[in-house]
């Protein structure tokens, strides 16, 4: 069955799924060699996994839809998941495309094509929910395309600027 390496808040756990759910709906899992019984709602979308029971401990949860963090009454913890049965590790996404993180209005464009930018440098200001949000360059490089003008409305995930 599947073996995963979970890094949560900097601590590593090897998790192995060892059994299908029993008649009570609990799934058997081995964590660092220790057997645990877990129940959770069976949802394909992570947004809707709202609770879990591990042995006798109930949890109220929020799980990021990209599995970058998990939140419970104990706070929010950073997650990293590696499938030990798959040798390839997914590279951290780090391309130079800057997309709209929320729908909104372009208030200002601070760079032009050809300009060199440093990672973290503000490149444009997106206005949404009465707030001006600074979007910054994801990495060092040269601006290759600027797809937007000030005053323009943009949709979620619309490609705004590319850094080559």
């Amino acid at each position: 069955m599947s073996r995963l390496l979970i890094t949560i808040a900097g601590h590593e756990f090897e998790v192995e799924l060892i059994a299908s759910p029993d008649s009570d709906g609990f799934i058997g899992v081995r964590v660092n060699g220790e057997l645990l019984r877990i129940a959770l709602p069976l949802e394909r979308t992570l947004d809707t996994i709202e609770w879990a029971i591990v042995e006798s401990h109930p949890y109220v949860l929020r799980i990021d839809h990209d599995l970058r963090w998990i939140e419970s009454a104990y706070g929010r913890h950073r997650l990293q998941i590696r499938d030990l049965d798959v040798a390839v590790v997914r590279p951290a996404s780090g391309d130079g495309r800057v997309k709209a993180p929320i729908p909104g209005l372009i208030a200002r464009v601070l760079v032009e094509v050809g300009q060199r930018v440093a990672a973290g440098q503000p490149i444009l200001i997106l206005e949404a929910m009465k707030m001006q949000n600074e979007l910054v360059a994801p990495r060092d490089g040269q601006v290759t395309t600027v797809n937007i003008r000030p005053g323009q409305s943009v949709l979620l995930n619309e490609l705004l600027v590319e850094i080559g």
Binding site: G25, E43, T45, L46, E50, R62, I70, A128
Partner: protein, 495 residues
């Protein structure tokens, strides 16, 4: 008393106003922009009219026209939007419709914040030190000269609207112009007015507010005080009442100053007199909020006064129901501002459809919100999603109950600042009550406390299962047949 009230606002405060009107038997008229058609405040009103002009909720002329068309005899502007629009208040008065507010005369006086400070100072009360005038962001040289006179650090404040937007600290001359530019742009976006002014900052300090009620006969009472020092991303997120750590003589002094200032401007209705208190307990007047505030909820909890009801009664020309001796302040209350935003990504607003929505219950817990499961958080408006307030007999009890309530709230589908609020309420400086406005510099998100090792292990196991369920959609890790107690075919419990 009034027959019909027009609610010139949206969201949480519009819902809040509609509730009190129902309690008083006053019928309500809601207005809505097209995107708010199905909003809760519309459903709770007796009549509803769509606003068609481009300015929508900010269009004084259309709001007044709807009031006249619907036969409303009073308008409640809530906070933000047209609530501090002197022209709107005057137009209402001229049209014979009562605007709920401090009166257009006092409103104009306190809206000019630099002038208001000067006037309070002239009356012999301690004030903060403002710049001699307001500035546009382009007045670079004049700003720098003025700043040198006042001395750093400085608070840059927007002339319009509330303090949530466009307030920032400039610690040196190097960052002044950048801070001014940012503040002004924020104020421009929020209030369509980019003018700013400077104020000599008192650091560390506490931000203490004294909510007052005044009637047309000149009676003024205060409703205690509250502490709004805890801010994140330049906005108040946690407010408590009474303010912790004020000696009884300092508290009494601040109340008396607030009452004097309220009389000085002949304020009517519900207003808040705001002060900065330094580390020795001395207070300095900084501004008047001439309207109901987001944080008034915390005052309602310790005073049991329905502030919206009092606003309506005062506007109807009735005298205050209670004298100062009859304002009974009891226990402690903590208020949390739940925003649709992501503190982990630069407080990026998070509009979208709310998935699950579970509110806390139990004794002494109240939530005011326009939201519900399935509601849309619109992109056009402020990110305020819900207001949580918790009451307890003592501060300790209230902190514990607030933590409990925060664990119960679950809002899915969008990002919220709930986990940030949990960190604030659990922070040693908050628990001890020793915090100041410098708390905004405490890096909460970097130093997350770790749960016990066994809980971390459990969460790792949960994450693993969630991952498998999420990724193995073609060959589910957990066969469907096992997911319920029933076998799909045989329809009976498995052995």
């Amino acid at each position: 008393m009034f027959k019909k009230l027009l609610i010139a606002n949206r969201g949480e405060i519009a819902v809040r106003i509609a509730r009190t009107c129902r309690d008083l038997g006053i019928s309500t008229v809601a207005v809505y922009e097209v995107g708010d058609m199905g909003a809760l405040h519309v459903r709770l009103a007796d009549e509803a009219f769509m606003l068609t002009s481009a300015q929508g909720y900010r269009d004084p002329r259309e709001l007044l026209a709807v009031a006249q068309r619907s036969g409303a005899d009073v308008i409640h502007p809530g906070y933000g939007l047209v609530s501090e629009d002197v022209g709107f208040e005057q137009a209402c008065e001229a049209a014979g419709i009562t605007p709920i507010g401090p009166g257009s005369g006092p409103l104009a006086q306190v809206r000019d914040r630099v002038e208001a400070i000067t006037r309070v100072g002239a009356a012999g009360l301690p004030t903060t030190q403002p710049s001699s005038r307001s500035f546009a962001p382009e007045d670079g040289a004049a700003l720098l000269a003025e700043a040198d006179q006042l001395g750093y650090p400085l608070v840059v404040k927007s002339c319009a609207g509330g303090r949530g937007r466009g307030t920032a600290i400039a610690r040196t001359a190097d960052d002044l112009l950048a801070v001014v530019r940012r503040s002004s742009a924020q104020a421009q976006a929020a209030y369509r007015d980019g003018q700013i002014y400077l104020e000599a900052a008192i650091l560390p300090s506490r931000y203490i507010e004294v909510p007052i009620l005044g009637d047309v006969f000149g009676n003024v009472i205060h409703m205690g005080d509250r502490d709004g020092s805890i801010q994140r991303n330049t906005r108040k997120v946690v407010t408590e009442a009474p303010a912790p750590g004020l000696s009884s003589s300092d508290r009494e002094a601040i109340w008396q100053s607030a009452l004097t200032i309220a009389r000085l401007f002949a304020l009517r209705g519900a207003c808040t007199i705001e002060f900065v208190v330094d580390s020795t307990g001395r207070h300095f007047f900084t501004e008047v909020k001439p309207r109901i505030q987001v944080e008034h909820l915390v005052t309602e909890m310790i005073s049991r006064i329905d502030v919206v009801r009092e606003q309506i009664r005062i506007a109807a020309g009735l005298p205050l129901e209670r004298s100062q001796d009859q304002v009974y302040l009891e226990g402690h209350a903590i208020f949390c501002r739940v925003n649709a935003e992501d503190p982990w990504h630069g407080y990026l607003p998070s509009p979208g459809r709310i998935g699950s929505f579970q509110l806390p219950g139990g004794p002494n817990v109240r939530v005011d919100t326009y939201a519900y499961a399935g509601a849309e958080v619109p992109v056009r408006y402020d990110s305020l999603l819900a207001k949580l307030v918790v009451w307890g007999a003592t501060r300790e009890e209230t902190i514990q109950r607030t933590q409990r309530a925060l664990q119960e709230i679950r809002i899915g589908g969008i990002q919220t600042n709930l986990s940030l609020i949990r960190l604030i309420i659990a922070h040693a400086e908050f628990v001890s009550g020793s915090y100041t406005t410098e708390f905004s510099r405490v890096r909460l998100l970097d130093a997350l406390p770790l749960p016990p090792a066994e809980r971390l292990r459990d969460l790792a196991a949960i994450a693993a299962l969630a991952f498998l369920q999420h990724t193995q959609t073609v060959h589910p890790a957990i066969p469907q047949a096992y997911t319920s107690g029933w076998h799909r075919e045989s329809r009976r419990l498995p052995d």
